[in-house]
Symmetry: C2
Subunit: 465 residues, 2 copies
Amino acid sequence: MPQAGLIERLAPSLSAGAVLIGAEIGPRYYTDVAGRVGASPQVVFRPRSTAEVSRILAHCHAEAVPVVVQGGMTGLVCGALPRSNEIVVSLERMNRIEAIDVKAATAIVEAGAVLEMVQEQVETLGLSFPLDLGARGSCTIGGNIATNAGGNRVIRYGMMRELVLGLEVVLADGTVIENLRKYFKNNTGFDLKQYFIGSEGTLGVITRAVLRLFPLPAERAVACCSLSCFSNVITLLDLMRRRLGGELTAFEVMWHSYFVRATALPHVKPPLPADRTFYVIVEASGVDATNIRDRFESLLAQAHEAALIDNAVIAKSTAEAASIWRIRDATVEVHAAIRPAISLDVSLAIDRMEEFAASAEEAARAVDPQSCIVVFGHLGDGNLHVSVHHADDRPELGEELERRIYDLVAAYGGSISAEHGIGISKRPYLRHSRTEAEIALMRAIKRAVDPQGILNPGRIFEIDQ
Amino acid sequence: MPQAGLIERLAPSLSAGAVLIGAEIGPRYYTDVAGRVGASPQVVFRPRSTAEVSRILAHCHAEAVPVVVQGGMTGLVCGALPRSNEIVVSLERMNRIEAIDVKAATAIVEAGAVLEMVQEQVETLGLSFPLDLGARGSCTIGGNIATNAGGNRVIRYGMMRELVLGLEVVLADGTVIENLRKYFKNNTGFDLKQYFIGSEGTLGVITRAVLRLFPLPAERAVACCSLSCFSNVITLLDLMRRRLGGELTAFEVMWHSYFVRATALPHVKPPLPADRTFYVIVEASGVDATNIRDRFESLLAQAHEAALIDNAVIAKSTAEAASIWRIRDATVEVHAAIRPAISLDVSLAIDRMEEFAASAEEAARAVDPQSCIVVFGHLGDGNLHVSVHHADDRPELGEELERRIYDLVAAYGGSISAEHGIGISKRPYLRHSRTEAEIALMRAIKRAVDPQGILNPGRIFEIDQ
């Protein structure tokens, strides 16, 4: 065990509580939100500063010790679960919101800061950090950046990549790359932060970030609608996009298969009967409250009159809006309720989604007649989530289902990962979405930036191939 | 001259008209929009296809022949001017708009397509490509991507980086990296297009791109306002941002020094007397024409009543709006009128801009008592353009002025290039905005992707240092 020496050499230079070994290492360091379990690590480092991260990595680099980086453990592709021989670097103690600049509308936060805490803190100052996803209560800003998180408001604000102005990253050899400037425009050579955003911790450890903030909307108008056919869903999206413009901040679609299961959960209240094929949550938000609400209501009335939507409930209070959003946020519970199941996250042309969902159901049935399929997603972004329940938990069955549906995604010209990343789970299917030349280029970059291959090894791709 | 052999070996495999030599090479291949002149190249390759680009680069790579890549020659940092021994690869014959997908709101275009042609063509289909800058009539999409162009609508739509969904790039060794997918979300490993966007042609030759399109606004409301003090400019920006939200599509500020010179040009009509210290062009656009116009007018009336603005002219027609925009688009002419002059493009905290402009003027006067300074910029993006006229055209004088003002930018924590890039001209000042660790990482990436260093050598940084 080379790590014993590493701990001895490192521990004296780290702050109190920075090293966990043996029984101090709870299951949270090798279990993820979906309940998957990795190898129990020999040591967990919990640095308190960028300098400590640098010291830890410099030693690991010198001794070729593989490292897995951890945030809130809410990833869905096993990227943060330790593999055997990997030590853990957890950013949990670097969770400060260091500064919020109201004038410049920026926040400097440490990587371990929890998303919801950032959202809440900036709101007290009349600002909004628009990234939002179901895991908001435990996912961290560092994890959001490393995985280029998406979520519910991408249609208006883009993914995490669009929300980061500056980044501080520690490279594998301990070099600190610091660019925490607050300005949006900076064409001074390669935009290095882009390299790290979405690279799943394979190129560096993100330690701090400058985030873009936005004015806090005075009003969030939220409605849940039921629709009878998919072409109406597309027409409704088009109408909302054209008439609300930059004030359309969410357009989430749920197939009946998802809606009926989510609204059956004890903590979720169905706002509408589960008697239609499609359900949409639409949100408009903006700075002029009356204007937004009036336009939103008249647009929905118009859509109802034109028979685009069959039923709609418009939230009359923040509590009612939250109750509607709870349906969409119940993804982990819905997935748990249909276990054993596989979960997919694909990008597709919007007008082929209905056909794709039907083909996926057919393909699943061909593999397992007892399978059933649950579909929902961020329609405006061209992103569907698909869960497939299967008869029993033989891994081969899940793998066969995955293979069949990913083949279908490739045939539809889609992406096998819209927002979840590749990690370990989706690695076998990387070639469905990327060419050999692209993967070779990724490898060349990885070798240049992390020559020992110590950072999150085996995530996205194997280095030696 | 090793290039003679190269031409002989390559020419038979290229299309007619792909090779220019000797007298066929006009000054346009070694002169830029600002009138600067580079070395006259031995050969200009004008490929017609990605395959031809690949063939040319593979040969150059094998024979270590340096290449400079050219688009519309509108760059302002000498990045596309040939240096001695460099051959030219011009994308001018790859200028097709290959496909516009109205439903998906995307366009696939070749790198040599001229920006204005793309704008006009998508508008005929009810869509908009929002990148816009003065050079629109000759700059190319490939150049816009390679330099991560900014322009007038960044405040709403972001820079070119935000407007590119997919990219096809040829690497130095001829490898084609093709990812022309149309979907916005694609977390399948490193987002390789980010490496090439803004890398000024040093990592690959962009050949095709998938662009994001937006609904064509039904209305563009444009006004020109005069203001007495800079704090009013900031308050006006804040008001517009808060009340117009995503419908504020431009907020351009001009110091009196710019306004008076631009409106003195023969083709520009002054909409307001040049009797105030600051001028702002503000644009709101959206899909609901009446709504936009009403809100825009009432906001400006409110700003006038509150004595934020002294005078305002709201364009009453498309022609009047174009006439107002002509003031802002006259940057090249204004710069030409004050020659000899240096030109800067910096990012700064908005609330320090006034102080910075005054300090820059003072610094310039200390070097050259006859100097005078012209200031304008994209205020909402924190981006100022500064031109400094100097007494005579001794290069030392220009260099000394640059050095003093870039020192000032660094002291203000700004960026020495907001949108123009580094190229050759700004290379001496790269360290004002980037650390040694960052530059070392850029070099490592360059070596990994272009090991012979043949692509746009010496742009941004020298390789061997």
